[in-house]
Point group: C2
Chain length 610, copies 2
């Protein structure tokens, strides 16, 4: 069989691929992580690449629709639609690379007009003299008021503590950062005003350093949540915090220290200092929110599971230990309830789901999956205990989305094809991989609609029951073979069943069916990488045309940034939280029944009943 | 010569006194400290005593004016007007005892209607349940708003940190202390709301624990300012703070620790806890204000000597380290300038000097003496560097107003008569004593109007120059003899000259003379104990009828309490500071000349020129 040499730039991966492969297949084989949202159907338009040299198949109708005439002119193609007919050299644009997103700090670049809550003003003052003996603070506030017409009535005490020396060092010309009538920071004029957005996840913390003047993200970073050492899941951490106040303080300290370290690193990257950060916005689920602020969590851990506070908070950063500008605030978006936190509000804001047209379903998939159904500005939310399977936990060979994790699986003619993160030898399987595997096994007839694994090529008996071999020991480079076990599939079934139950009951509560859904928004790290087709195949997601799905990445982080740079967006967040109605799944009479049905790989509501 | 046995109760001091002595003379001889403001002229009415048995001279016209018919009926007399004609038993009411005032926490009991800034509300809530999943904070704020019609939008973060457990412990019935829409404390219903007023003096700290509900002072206490170990005067302390930030932090820590200890003690006295204090008001001179808040002082120590901040401040108590209710505030009255601080504002408020009729002169005598001239609501202030002589420093046998200090001196027929604090043997002389001594020596012809000591009975030469013997070595109980030296008199002349200069220049700036002054208010510890007659005699005070003088005790402390319990009074304090104009003495062309004249013991403006 003929083969062609394909060269992917700028990633620098190249090799021989059999004729008849698409560029997407070639990319997969060579370990280039091209985004594929629609499952190679030419619909999502995300796998855009530029052909620099070589011949390829004619552009398809799908490509003509997804690409502009100019792009076609410049050699752009959709990787899933283009088939090489000679050796080729292909450029993969940054946005097309999915690996980039693994930093957990992806998200839509913000296009909102900055409308900052903290505004910088240049202030020039006459020096103190015998004929003008006003106090330093009065002089500053007076100049703001009289010369810049800035209504200002107070200077933060920590700003005051540093001000007298600085006013003189800077020869009475300064930049005053004014927040709702209060001076929260002073710098020499001009100083770039930075703000910090933080998405405080149970597992990961994503942070973005944003230039407040233009809304541009200057630097971003994702780290593991250091609280993980105290328990992988929230329940474990809440239990520890409830146990003793000192443990609660330790959990708080870990997060705060982590954030301070991130802030310092991000600032150092652009030659700034933490003190230049004039405001921070932090979003997280309710438990992370409470542990971060040092709020009591006992009432969050026992029935009826209520938050200590759900309103949005404006706190002095020093009151939570954050080291930013001396008078800077940290803003926390509102929680919706004990199980639906500020991160969900941020997601609804960041994805614009809250004002989508028609009936919008918004999912934030994780250990807890929050589902919102939005219709005419009304928002109903549920929280589903989907468990940690999506994050690779409780899965025999499960792992987090890290290099070497199998992130995508296909069965092609009974043969396993997979792709690992960073293209390195497989060491385990992450959430999107296990979902793909389940879909492939189901579609390939290896498991039935109850999730039971039959006798089949690749299936073998082991100590723990049946398992399907994904990667043999030899292929794993001498490591352990990687399999999907019957138990793994049950774990995943529970997870996807819980999520689907939430979706179904929300629809029931509104008297709607799947077909009424105009848009499904999937947010979160896991949600960004999964194959929607696989999700539909196993009945995790409703069976709808793929173009109704939108994978929006870390929309919570985007929402945090929006609330940071725009007063209007912050107000929108407040409004989202105020109108969101939390619905307790256990209160539904149909809960058990719906949950049982949702465990099947095909749903009653789908075209082909189980 | 006949003598009578006089018995003073309840102090229990008794003894023989020669016939022809007034009860006041008898009291002085026996070491009973009866207040004498007018110099035994029967005018001030402060030496009121009740005769329990014995015969006395007929009541004078002065007594008929000062006492009501009922009081006369009940045996009340003025001690300076009543002459025993037999053995007597006399009760000295608490208010007539001057010793009581030595606690530094005296002051007028407050008669203003409480109009507190922090208001307690009883709140009853429905417990959290599956059908009402509101967060604890929302539940509290909602109940305040809906059931008590209290506009409330926030709960302090430290209150939130403790609230969830308490709401449940207290079965959802609490007292919420609300300050301008913010919950700053929670307690079980009902809890007495306490507030703390502090007059932060350079030498002494006076503090008052007040019941906010009725304005009553529950307990009070005076301590030495612990910063004294770092320098007796302000300049020394400022120098230390400027020297190094760690020294500044140490000075701050000393005061804050001192206040926390006082607060805890005062609360313990009445069976409460520091946490029950929902607000504090602190007044002090500008340097004490800055050192307490950790504000920079370098600009306060060098020309042109400006404050870092002069506006009134509302700070979270935790931001200055004060341990009161979790969300409590400390309010600092405005400073007028670098040399005229919030304590002067409090004094003008506490004495009502700021709205006196006619031309009012208000003096706060200390190491720095602040003088205000009030006329038609206009307030002009100066600060005079009167030095530490009034506090007994830089005086050969000087001491603070403590037991054994000579506090009053007379020359009767060339013979020295003196009175010590607590009536114990003399060990030194305090401010009021040295002023009395100077007046007595001048009136007795021992010194001339330039202050020079002539040859005279009692004057002797010593190593340091001439000195006048007040107490011989034998009389001092084996201790050192107590004298007033020529150098002491010079020191005092400088002090009184500086003060008088301030008075004169203020009058000049308004084009007024002494006669125009309708009232002279003298505040402060020293000012409360001095003999006004002596002050006039040596030219420290303008020569005016004694009834124009009013000694008001610690009016700054009273002002602090007023600002604590009344929003109107707090607003008045702001208005006083805003309309007060600081005048720099050095800017006057006539400064040198006026100062030189003010050094004389008789002034050009007085009836008998020098």
């Amino acid at each position: 069989m003929a083969s062609y040499h394909i060269d992917f730039e700028p990633v620098g991966l190249r090799g021989e691929c059999p004729a008849g492969c698409s560029l997407m297949d070639a990319a997969r084989q060579l370990g280039v992580h091209v985004v594929s949202v629609c499952g190679d159907r030419g619909i999502c338009g995300r796998c855009k690449v530029q052909v620099l040299s070589g011949r390829l198949s004619e552009a398809t109708a799908a490509e003509a629709e997804a690409l502009s005439p100019q792009e076609l002119e410049e050699g752009y193609r959709l990787a899933c639609q283009a088939y090489p007919q000679s050796d080729c050299k292909v450029r993969v644009p940054r946005d097309t690379l999915s690996a980039r997103q693994r930093t957990q700090v992806e998200g839509l670049e913000i296009s909102v007009v900055p409308e900052p809550i903290v505004v910088p003003h240049r202030v020039q003052m006459a020096p103190a003299s015998w004929s003008d003996l006003r106090a330093d603070s009065e002089r500053l506030v007076g100049a703001l008021r009289d010369e810049s017409q800035v209504p200002c009535s107070a200077v933060d005490i920590d700003v005051l503590r540093g001000a007298s020396g600085r006013l003189r060092d800077w020869k009475w010309e300064v930049q005053a950062s004014v927040r709702r009538g209060e001076v929260v920071a002073l710098g020499p004029w001009p100083t770039m005003q930075l703000v910090l957005a933080v998405d405080l996840g149970t597992t990961k913390i994503a942070s973005y350093l944003v230039n407040l003047d233009n809304g541009e993200t200057m630097a971003s970073k994702g780290i593991m949540n250091p609280q993980i050492a105290y328990g992988e899941d929230l329940i474990a951490r809440l239990a520890r915090a409830v146990e003793s106040p000192s443990e609660a303080a330790r959990l708080q300290g870990l997060v705060v220290d982590g954030l301070n370290a991130i802030a310092a690193e991000l600032c150092a990257e652009i030659g700034a200092a933490s003190e230049d950060i004039v405001e921070a916005v932090v979003v997280g689920n309710t438990a992370m929110h409470h542990l971060f602020l040092g709020l009591p969590v006992h009432q969050l851990a026992v029935s009826p599971f209520v938050a200590a506070v759900s309103e949005p908070l404006d706190l002095k950063a020093r009151d939570v230990g954050l080291e930013i500008a001396p008078g800077g605030y940290v803003h926390l978006l509102a929680n919706i309830g004990g199980f639906v936190g500020a991160d969900h509000v941020a997601m609804l804001l960041g994805s614009d789901a809250w004002r989508g047209e028609g009936l919008v379903l918004a999912l934030d998939i994780g250990t807890n999956t929050e589902v919102a159904l939005v219709s005419d500005g009304e928002i109903a939310c549920v929280s589903c205990a989907s468990g940690p399977a999506f994050e690779g936990a409780h899965i025999r060979h499960g792992m987090r989305a890290a290099p070497g994790a199998i992130e995508a699986v296909q069965l092609v003619g009974g043969e396993v094809r997979y792709q690992t993160i960073d293209g390195v030898p497989a060491v385990g399987i992450c959430g999107s991989g296990i979902l793909d595997a389940m879909a492939a096994l189901y579609l390939g007839g290896v498991i039935d609609s109850t999730g039971r694994m039959g006798e089949h090529t690749g299936v073998r008996e082991s100590q723990g029951g049946r398992e399907f071999l994904l990667v043999s020991q030899e292929e794993a480079g001498g490591g352990a073979a990687i399999t999907v076990t019957q138990r793994d599939l049950r774990e995943l079934q529970l997870a996807k069943g819980a999520m689907r139950t939430g979706i179904e009951l929300l629809l029931q509560s509104r008297g709607c069916s799947h077909e009424d859904i105009s848009q499904v928004i999937i947010a979160g790290a896991f949600g960004s990488y999964i194959s929607v087709s696989s999700g539909i195949a196993v009945g995790m997601l409703p069976s709808l045309p793929l173009d109704r799905f939108q994978q929006v990445g870390n929309a919570a982080g985007t929402g945090a940034r929006l609330a940071l740079i725009s007063a209007t967006k912050r107000e929108e967040a407040r409004s989202i939280a105020a109108r969101a109605r939390y619905i307790e799944l256990n209160n539904f009479a149909t809960f058990q029944d719906t949950f049982a049905k949702s465990m099947y790989l095909r749903q009653s509501g789908d075209a082909t009943p189980a």
